[in-house]
Symmetry: C2
Subunit: 159 residues, 2 copies
Protein backbone atom coordinates (compact mmCIF):
# COMPACT_ATOMS: atom_id res chain seq x y z
CA UNK A 1 0.00 0.00 0.00
CA UNK A 2 1.39 3.35 -1.07
CA UNK A 3 0.08 6.63 0.29
CA UNK A 4 0.66 9.74 -1.81
CA UNK A 5 0.47 13.27 -0.50
CA UNK A 6 1.13 16.65 -2.03
CA UNK A 7 2.31 19.83 -0.31
CA UNK A 8 -0.47 22.33 0.36
CA UNK A 9 1.98 25.12 1.15
CA UNK A 10 5.49 26.03 2.32
CA UNK A 11 6.79 26.99 5.75
CA UNK A 12 9.20 29.92 5.90
CA UNK A 13 11.49 30.42 8.89
CA UNK A 14 14.82 32.06 9.74
CA UNK A 15 16.45 28.60 9.75
CA UNK A 16 18.22 28.11 6.43
CA UNK A 17 20.42 25.27 7.69
CA UNK A 18 19.83 22.31 9.98
CA UNK A 19 22.73 23.30 12.23
CA UNK A 20 21.80 25.70 14.99
CA UNK A 21 18.08 25.07 14.75
CA UNK A 22 16.01 24.95 17.93
CA UNK A 23 15.04 21.39 18.78
CA UNK A 24 11.38 22.02 19.52
CA UNK A 25 8.94 24.94 19.73
CA UNK A 26 9.90 25.27 23.41
CA UNK A 27 13.37 26.22 22.18
CA UNK A 28 11.98 28.45 19.44
CA UNK A 29 10.11 30.91 21.65
CA UNK A 30 9.71 34.26 19.86
CA UNK A 31 11.01 32.87 16.56
CA UNK A 32 8.70 34.22 13.87
CA UNK A 33 7.92 32.67 10.54
CA UNK A 34 5.20 32.36 7.94
CA UNK A 35 3.20 29.61 6.31
CA UNK A 36 2.32 30.21 2.67
CA UNK A 37 -0.76 28.19 1.83
CA UNK A 38 -1.13 27.52 -1.89
CA UNK A 39 -3.99 29.35 -3.55
CA UNK A 40 -6.08 26.27 -4.28
CA UNK A 41 -6.43 25.58 -0.53
CA UNK A 42 -6.90 29.08 0.87
CA UNK A 43 -10.65 29.04 1.30
CA UNK A 44 -10.06 26.22 3.80
CA UNK A 45 -8.38 28.79 6.11
CA UNK A 46 -11.72 30.39 7.01
CA UNK A 47 -12.30 30.47 10.81
CA UNK A 48 -8.70 29.49 11.55
CA UNK A 49 -7.88 33.00 12.83
CA UNK A 50 -10.06 32.31 15.88
CA UNK A 51 -7.40 29.91 17.14
CA UNK A 52 -4.34 31.16 18.99
CA UNK A 53 -2.37 27.96 18.30
CA UNK A 54 -2.32 25.45 15.47
CA UNK A 55 -0.71 22.13 14.64
CA UNK A 56 1.48 22.13 11.55
CA UNK A 57 2.12 18.77 9.90
CA UNK A 58 4.96 18.86 7.42
CA UNK A 59 7.34 16.73 5.41
CA UNK A 60 10.96 16.60 6.65
CA UNK A 61 12.20 17.14 3.10
CA UNK A 62 15.87 17.13 4.07
CA UNK A 63 15.75 13.86 6.03
CA UNK A 64 17.30 10.96 4.16
CA UNK A 65 16.47 7.40 5.14
CA UNK A 66 15.84 6.53 8.76
CA UNK A 67 17.41 4.83 11.77
CA UNK A 68 15.30 2.91 14.27
CA UNK A 69 17.76 3.73 17.04
CA UNK A 70 18.90 7.31 17.41
CA UNK A 71 20.83 9.40 19.89
CA UNK A 72 18.50 12.39 20.37
CA UNK A 73 19.78 15.95 20.56
CA UNK A 74 18.71 16.00 24.17
CA UNK A 75 20.43 12.82 25.27
CA UNK A 76 23.64 10.85 25.01
CA UNK A 77 22.08 7.37 24.85
CA UNK A 78 20.58 5.58 21.84
CA UNK A 79 16.78 5.58 22.04
CA UNK A 80 14.07 3.89 20.05
CA UNK A 81 13.14 6.19 17.18
CA UNK A 82 9.44 6.34 18.06
CA UNK A 83 10.25 7.62 21.54
CA UNK A 84 11.92 10.63 19.88
CA UNK A 85 10.97 13.37 17.43
CA UNK A 86 14.05 12.85 15.26
CA UNK A 87 13.37 13.74 11.60
CA UNK A 88 14.81 10.61 9.99
CA UNK A 89 11.68 8.42 10.32
CA UNK A 90 10.12 5.74 8.07
CA UNK A 91 7.50 8.36 7.18
CA UNK A 92 9.29 11.66 7.83
CA UNK A 93 6.31 13.67 9.06
CA UNK A 94 7.00 16.56 11.41
CA UNK A 95 4.53 17.94 13.94
CA UNK A 96 4.73 21.32 15.67
CA UNK A 97 2.38 23.46 17.70
CA UNK A 98 2.90 27.12 16.80
CA UNK A 99 1.29 30.36 17.83
CA UNK A 100 -0.88 31.95 15.14
CA UNK A 101 -0.70 35.76 15.04
CA UNK A 102 -2.79 36.41 11.97
CA UNK A 103 -3.64 35.46 8.41
CA UNK A 104 -3.26 37.75 5.38
CA UNK A 105 -3.94 36.66 1.81
CA UNK A 106 -3.18 32.99 2.43
CA UNK A 107 -0.11 33.69 4.55
CA UNK A 108 -0.13 32.64 8.21
CA UNK A 109 2.05 34.66 10.55
CA UNK A 110 3.34 32.29 13.20
CA UNK A 111 5.61 32.21 16.24
CA UNK A 112 7.60 29.45 17.96
CA UNK A 113 8.77 28.05 14.66
CA UNK A 114 11.17 25.11 14.91
CA UNK A 115 11.04 24.22 11.23
CA UNK A 116 13.58 24.54 8.42
CA UNK A 117 12.91 27.26 5.84
CA UNK A 118 11.23 25.83 2.73
CA UNK A 119 9.64 22.85 4.47
CA UNK A 120 6.63 21.48 2.57
CA UNK A 121 3.37 21.80 4.51
CA UNK A 122 1.05 18.77 4.61
CA UNK A 123 -1.76 19.84 6.90
CA UNK A 124 -2.99 22.40 9.44
CA UNK A 125 -5.18 21.44 12.40
CA UNK A 126 -6.57 23.58 15.20
CA UNK A 127 -4.90 23.16 18.58
CA UNK A 128 -7.48 22.49 21.28
CA UNK A 129 -6.17 21.91 24.82
CA UNK A 130 -9.37 20.10 25.76
CA UNK A 131 -8.23 17.23 23.54
CA UNK A 132 -4.98 16.86 25.48
CA UNK A 133 -4.59 14.08 28.05
CA UNK A 134 -5.93 14.55 31.56
CA UNK A 135 -4.23 13.45 34.72
CA UNK A 136 -0.72 12.20 35.20
CA UNK A 137 1.62 12.20 32.22
CA UNK A 138 4.92 10.30 32.15
CA UNK A 139 7.57 11.20 29.59
CA UNK A 140 10.20 8.48 29.97
CA UNK A 141 13.78 9.38 29.07
CA UNK A 142 12.71 12.92 28.25
CA UNK A 143 11.69 13.59 31.84
CA UNK A 144 15.15 14.79 32.73
CA UNK A 145 16.31 15.76 29.29
CA UNK A 146 13.60 18.27 28.47
CA UNK A 147 14.64 20.55 31.29
CA UNK A 148 17.59 21.67 29.24
CA UNK A 149 15.94 21.60 25.82
CA UNK A 150 15.42 25.33 25.51
CA UNK A 151 19.14 25.99 25.77
CA UNK A 152 20.29 23.36 23.30
CA UNK A 153 20.63 23.59 19.56
CA UNK A 154 20.78 20.89 16.93
CA UNK A 155 24.05 19.71 15.50
CA UNK A 156 25.17 17.63 12.54
CA UNK A 157 23.79 14.29 13.52
CA UNK A 158 20.63 14.38 11.42
CA UNK A 159 22.21 15.47 8.18
CA UNK B 1 6.26 17.29 -5.77
CA UNK B 2 4.89 13.95 -4.69
CA UNK B 3 5.44 12.58 -1.21
CA UNK B 4 5.12 8.83 -0.75
CA UNK B 5 4.57 7.13 2.58
CA UNK B 6 3.98 3.55 3.59
CA UNK B 7 2.07 2.22 6.59
CA UNK B 8 4.31 1.11 9.46
CA UNK B 9 1.45 -0.68 11.22
CA UNK B 10 -2.32 -0.93 11.71
CA UNK B 11 -4.58 0.51 14.40
CA UNK B 12 -7.24 -1.81 15.81
CA UNK B 13 -10.30 -0.43 17.60
CA UNK B 14 -13.87 -1.41 18.42
CA UNK B 15 -15.08 0.97 15.67
CA UNK B 16 -15.84 -1.05 12.57
CA UNK B 17 -17.99 1.65 10.96
CA UNK B 18 -17.71 5.43 10.74
CA UNK B 19 -21.21 5.91 12.18
CA UNK B 20 -21.28 6.09 15.95
CA UNK B 21 -17.57 6.75 16.37
CA UNK B 22 -16.45 9.19 19.04
CA UNK B 23 -15.36 12.47 17.52
CA UNK B 24 -12.13 12.87 19.44
CA UNK B 25 -10.15 11.11 22.17
CA UNK B 26 -12.07 13.24 24.70
CA UNK B 27 -15.18 11.36 23.59
CA UNK B 28 -13.37 8.03 23.52
CA UNK B 29 -12.39 7.88 27.19
CA UNK B 30 -11.90 4.26 28.27
CA UNK B 31 -12.13 2.94 24.71
CA UNK B 32 -9.33 0.39 24.35
CA UNK B 33 -7.53 -0.60 21.20
CA UNK B 34 -4.20 -1.83 19.92
CA UNK B 35 -1.56 -0.69 17.48
CA UNK B 36 0.19 -3.46 15.59
CA UNK B 37 3.58 -2.21 14.46
CA UNK B 38 4.99 -4.15 11.53
CA UNK B 39 7.97 -6.30 12.38
CA UNK B 40 10.49 -4.30 10.35
CA UNK B 41 9.92 -1.26 12.60
CA UNK B 42 9.61 -2.86 16.02
CA UNK B 43 13.09 -2.16 17.31
CA UNK B 44 12.16 1.53 17.00
CA UNK B 45 9.68 0.99 19.88
CA UNK B 46 12.47 0.77 22.46
CA UNK B 47 12.00 3.31 25.31
CA UNK B 48 8.46 4.15 24.22
CA UNK B 49 6.97 2.34 27.22
CA UNK B 50 8.32 5.10 29.48
CA UNK B 51 5.68 7.43 28.04
CA UNK B 52 2.12 7.43 29.35
CA UNK B 53 0.75 9.13 26.21
CA UNK B 54 1.72 9.07 22.56
CA UNK B 55 0.74 10.80 19.32
CA UNK B 56 -0.52 8.51 16.59
CA UNK B 57 -0.35 9.81 13.03
CA UNK B 58 -2.41 7.79 10.61
CA UNK B 59 -3.95 7.78 7.16
CA UNK B 60 -7.73 8.33 6.95
CA UNK B 61 -8.03 5.44 4.53
CA UNK B 62 -11.80 5.70 4.20
CA UNK B 63 -11.87 9.43 3.42
CA UNK B 64 -12.53 10.16 -0.24
CA UNK B 65 -11.64 13.53 -1.68
CA UNK B 66 -11.91 16.67 0.42
CA UNK B 67 -14.04 19.75 0.96
CA UNK B 68 -12.49 23.06 1.99
CA UNK B 69 -15.66 24.04 3.81
CA UNK B 70 -17.24 21.53 6.15
CA UNK B 71 -19.96 21.46 8.75
CA UNK B 72 -18.16 19.82 11.70
CA UNK B 73 -19.83 17.18 13.86
CA UNK B 74 -19.74 19.66 16.70
CA UNK B 75 -21.36 22.55 14.88
CA UNK B 76 -24.17 23.52 12.54
CA UNK B 77 -22.26 26.12 10.53
CA UNK B 78 -19.83 25.59 7.62
CA UNK B 79 -16.24 26.11 8.78
CA UNK B 80 -12.95 26.32 6.97
CA UNK B 81 -11.53 22.80 6.77
CA UNK B 82 -8.23 23.66 8.46
CA UNK B 83 -10.07 24.95 11.54
CA UNK B 84 -11.55 21.46 11.94
CA UNK B 85 -10.29 17.91 12.31
CA UNK B 86 -12.58 16.52 9.64
CA UNK B 87 -11.06 13.48 7.87
CA UNK B 88 -11.68 14.57 4.26
CA UNK B 89 -8.55 16.72 3.86
CA UNK B 90 -6.17 17.37 0.94
CA UNK B 91 -3.69 15.13 2.77
CA UNK B 92 -5.93 12.93 4.93
CA UNK B 93 -3.61 12.59 7.93
CA UNK B 94 -5.19 11.94 11.31
CA UNK B 95 -3.65 12.87 14.65
CA UNK B 96 -4.66 11.52 18.07
CA UNK B 97 -3.15 11.54 21.53
CA UNK B 98 -3.81 8.18 23.20
CA UNK B 99 -2.88 6.65 26.51
CA UNK B 100 -0.24 3.91 26.28
CA UNK B 101 -0.80 1.03 28.68
CA UNK B 102 1.97 -1.27 27.55
CA UNK B 103 3.83 -2.87 24.67
CA UNK B 104 4.03 -6.62 23.98
CA UNK B 105 5.74 -8.13 20.95
CA UNK B 106 5.23 -5.10 18.74
CA UNK B 107 1.65 -4.52 19.86
CA UNK B 108 0.81 -1.30 21.72
CA UNK B 109 -2.13 -1.45 24.11
CA UNK B 110 -3.81 1.93 24.02
CA UNK B 111 -6.80 3.77 25.49
CA UNK B 112 -8.89 6.76 24.32
CA UNK B 113 -8.95 5.47 20.76
CA UNK B 114 -11.03 7.56 18.33
CA UNK B 115 -9.82 5.76 15.22
CA UNK B 116 -11.53 3.39 12.80
CA UNK B 117 -10.49 -0.27 13.00
CA UNK B 118 -7.92 -1.12 10.33
CA UNK B 119 -6.54 2.41 9.98
CA UNK B 120 -2.99 2.47 8.53
CA UNK B 121 -0.42 3.85 10.97
CA UNK B 122 2.09 6.40 9.64
CA UNK B 123 4.07 7.44 12.70
CA UNK B 124 4.29 7.38 16.49
CA UNK B 125 5.69 10.29 18.50
CA UNK B 126 6.06 10.73 22.24
CA UNK B 127 3.59 13.10 23.86
CA UNK B 128 5.41 15.68 25.97
CA UNK B 129 3.29 18.34 27.69
CA UNK B 130 6.28 20.63 27.99
CA UNK B 131 6.10 21.15 24.21
CA UNK B 132 2.50 22.39 24.45
CA UNK B 133 1.73 26.11 24.30
CA UNK B 134 2.03 28.25 27.42
CA UNK B 135 -0.32 30.98 28.43
CA UNK B 136 -3.69 31.87 27.00
CA UNK B 137 -5.12 29.62 24.30
CA UNK B 138 -8.06 30.62 22.11
CA UNK B 139 -10.03 27.98 20.21
CA UNK B 140 -12.36 29.97 17.96
CA UNK B 141 -15.64 28.33 16.99
CA UNK B 142 -14.76 25.28 19.06
CA UNK B 143 -14.80 27.29 22.28
CA UNK B 144 -18.47 26.63 22.81
CA UNK B 145 -18.79 23.50 20.74
CA UNK B 146 -16.22 21.37 22.55
CA UNK B 147 -18.17 21.48 25.77
CA UNK B 148 -20.59 18.97 24.30
CA UNK B 149 -18.06 16.91 22.33
CA UNK B 150 -17.87 14.02 24.74
CA UNK B 151 -21.58 13.33 24.39
CA UNK B 152 -21.78 13.52 20.61
CA UNK B 153 -21.15 10.83 18.06
CA UNK B 154 -20.31 11.01 14.39
CA UNK B 155 -22.96 10.57 11.73
CA UNK B 156 -23.02 10.04 7.99
CA UNK B 157 -21.64 13.29 6.79
CA UNK B 158 -18.05 12.16 6.23
CA UNK B 159 -18.84 9.03 4.29
Amino acid sequence: MKIEYQPIGVIHSPFKKIEGMPIQPAGAANVRGTVEVFEAYRIGLKDLDGFSHIFLLYHFHRAQGFSLHVVPFMDSEARGLFSTRAPRRPNPIGLSVVRLHGIEAGVLHIENVDVLDGTPLLDIKPYVPEFDPRGEVRTGWLEEAWKTVSSRKSDHRFK
